[in-house]
């Protein structure tokens, strides 16, 4: 059982979950405390010890069913069929009882049954499942990679099980029983049943092998799906994919908030407020019964986001807006602006509308700005400088999201310089790679001197790395 759990934990890991060794051990201990006959409880016990992120629960459920129930169910079905086919005259139970009695009368030592034969005779399907799993492990079935190998690994597993020898043993058992008094009809039925058992066994082993292959492909697909979404460039995302990322993005936003607030929290508490303290304690003859600390001002970080929504980066901006929306849900002091060449504030739109409506509205421009023009970062920064510079102070972080492709307009970098001088810091996330910055109509190089951190951010993986780095 423990081995089976370890293998399952490996499977979870392969599918991207973080299961530590300590957690697998917890699972063992937990199972010791429970009667694991109840499948639901068994599943819950594994889950609560090994899976700690709610996002992973659906994958866990799927893997659990594949790993723990499906094969046994198939096994039971195969052997039930083998029993039913016995015909009306002879039912399997009676037959097996007859075998048992007959065997007792055989001279001791006259038959030496293999483990597999015993298990088949007693129809202990749990034990049979264990035998098959073990044989498959010895046969190396978990290395299976494609359909063409199914036959091969099925045969190897059967060999490991010693199925041929067992078949022989069962046949000779039937023969011996016939000699020691079983009627011909009974003996024939017995032989037929043994054949069906062996056939059911072969089918089950094949089924097991197929499952291994499926599992192999499944992990692969899972990993592929996850990674691709992480690494896919924002430029190529579909709306659907962007929606899928919503939760991941929301988490990132929350983490950014944590970073910004920790960086500010240096002192444990405010300074001693001597003046007020002495006054307050005057009644105690000047003995300071009540210590008074200056209320430390709550340092709520302020965030101002400027997001490029020109049509050349439509999908990128859709994604960035989602990021911005999530940030807005985390911060109380946040203002969001979108621009192409004009600049408009979308804070209220984001506040009232749900995420999709808000983004659509902001992207369509409509009442906010005209989006059907060509990007002009210089102009946008200038407008911000003119209308909103006053809103920036030394607690404000300014975040610019855009490619800095300025259509050969004047970059007016001095506007960003002034913003930079007033703000706590300026961060810039650019979907283009640094090697392209400053080439063609990119004016990123002109802005760089006025930016504290500038990063390439073209996919979710990069974004999450950036957030991690900010954390340090």
């Amino acid at each position: 059982m423990q081995q089976k759990i370890i293998a399952f934990a490996n499977l979870l890991r392969k599918s991207g979950m973080r299961v530590s060794v300590a957690e697998s051990l917890d699972a063992f201990v937990a199972l010791d405390e429970l009667s694991i006959g109840d499948r639901e409880i068994f599943k819950d016990a594994l889950r609560c010890t090994m899976v700690k992120r709610s996002d992973d629960i659906p994958t866990f459920n799927e893997l659990f069913d594949r790993y723990w129930s499906a094969f046994y169910d198939q096994l039971r079905e195969a052997f039930e069929q083998a029993g039913e086919n016995a015909g009306d005259a002879l039912d399997i139970e009676a037959l097996l009882r007859a075998v048992e009695q007959g065997m007792e009368q055989l001279p001791p030592g006259s038959l030496d049954l293999s483990e597999l034969a015993k298990v088949l005779l007693s129809q202990d399907l749990n034990a049979l499942e264990q035998l098959i799993r073990q044989a498959a492990r010895e046969a190396g079935t978990e290395k299976i990679e494609n359909m063409l190998q199914i036959g091969f690994f099925t045969r190897r597993t059967m060999e490991q099980l010693g199925s041929e020898g067992t078949g022989e043993q069962l046949r000779s058992l039937a023969g011996q029983l016939r000699e020691s008094g079983l009627s011909d009809a009974e003996a024939d039925a017995l032989l037929a049943m043994f054949e069906r058992f062996m056939e059911a066994l072969r089918r089950s082993v094949r089924n097991y092998t197929e499952r291994e292959l499926e599992q192999h492909n499944f992990d692969y697909m899972e990993k592929f799906r996850r990674e691709s979404l992480l690494e896919k460039s924002f430029y190529n995302l579909s709306e659907e994919e962007i929606r899928k990322m919503r939760e991941v993005v929301a988490r990132l936003a929350q983490r950014i908030k944590n970073v910004l607030s920790i960086r500010k929290r240096r002192l444990k508490r405010g300074k001693l407020d001597l003046r007020t303290m002495l006054r307050r304690n005057a009644g105690h003859g000047g003995v300071p019964f009540e210590l008074l600390f200056r209320e430390r001002r709550k340092d709520r970080p302020k965030l101002v986001i400027l997001c490029d929504v020109s049509s050349s980066v439509a999908n990128v901006s859709r994604f960035m807006m989602q990021f911005m929306y999530s940030l807005q849900e985390c911060f109380t002091k946040i203002r969001c602006f979108v621009f192409v060449s004009e600049l408009g504030e979308v804070t209220p739109v984001f506040k009232d509308k749900d995420i999709n409506d808000a983004i659509t509205k902001a992207l369509d421009g409509g009442d906010v700005i005209n989006v059907y023009t060509r990007s002009n970062f210089g102009q946008a920064f200038h407008i911000f400088w003119r209308d909103h510079l006053a809103a920036i102070d030394n607690k404000t972080t300014v975040l610019v999201l855009g490619d800095a492709r300025n259509n050969y307009n004047d970059p007016r970098a001095w506007c960003l310089r002034d913003i930079h001088n007033k703000a706590r810091d300026v961060l810039w996330l650019n979907p283009e790679s640094p090697s392209a910055w400053g080439f063609g109509d990119s004016v990123m190089d002109k802005y760089l001197p006025h930016v504290d951190v500038a990063e390439e951010c073209r996919n979710l993986k990069q974004l999450s790395k950036i957030v991690d780095r900010l954390l340090l």
Partner: protein, 339 residues
Amino acid sequence: MFQSVDDVIQKLGQQDYICGKDIATVVYLAAKLEKPVLVEGPAGVGKTELAKVVARATGRPLIRLQCYEGLDEAKALYEWEYSKQLLYTQILKEKFAETMAGATTLRDAAERVGREDSVFFSDRFIVPRPLLRAISADEPSLLLIDEVDKSDPEFEAFLLEVLSDFQVTVPEVGTLEAKHRPLAFLTSNDAREMSDALKRRCLHLYIDFPDEELELRILETRVPGIEQRLAEELVSVMQRLRKLDLKKTPSISETLDWARALLALNARELGEELINDTLNVILKYEGDIKKTQGEIGRLIARRSTGGESEGGDTGASESPAPSSPPAPPASSVKRGVLH
């Protein structure tokens, strides 16, 4: 404490908390293995309540630490009771004078006072906060660390230490170790993800919105006066409401609030108009209310076709509404085998 998983279900049920095997298994294991539980899930699904009822069901005193941004060790563990210390120094002034008698230099005097430190920094002057109370309690307690996601990451690191061995060191006094390991429940609305280290230390429980049957049982337990028909209608509307893409999805607490409001209005059935008038009980955002108002017809549709006929959206609804996926088959695999 609990005999079995079923025993948990039953004992919590006696405290009017209705849960299935999923929750009960985790509670049972937490008690058996003495491991803290991290309970996550949307707001209002009964995370806090779970800890409270486990306390009641086990007869343990509940010690609650409510987390918030800025919560620090002093507020969570202990503080020195400064004014009491000072009062003692005032009262003991003369004693001090004796101690000081003969001190020739300031340094000497300070040394002598220093030697008496332990008098003032002893448990006598400690104000215990929830964590210390749980550790030093004379009987086994239940420690609820509520909304841990609201605390700051540094606090989480501190919490991790406490939860790992339930002992704390007060520099002036020494190390205090729990006489009885408290049963600890941490709840989180997932505002931020807790660290892997913390999660590794805990059993994990995710409470999701309840399915229709469970929600109905909760409703009937918590709002006993409600008529069955109204309860069924209400729960069915809530279940559908949760499939809409709302900014704040209403939870069990909203179901209960709504039921109580409807009772107060003497409502007997849930019509379109009544829903419209009372939506603000369950939805907090203007945008959500607007969105829902456009869907009310669909929320109560199909229900009126007499008996609960399951299977197939054969109604004449021409709307291209995505028919909600059929509930997954109640997968109650009956076989009892696993070795």
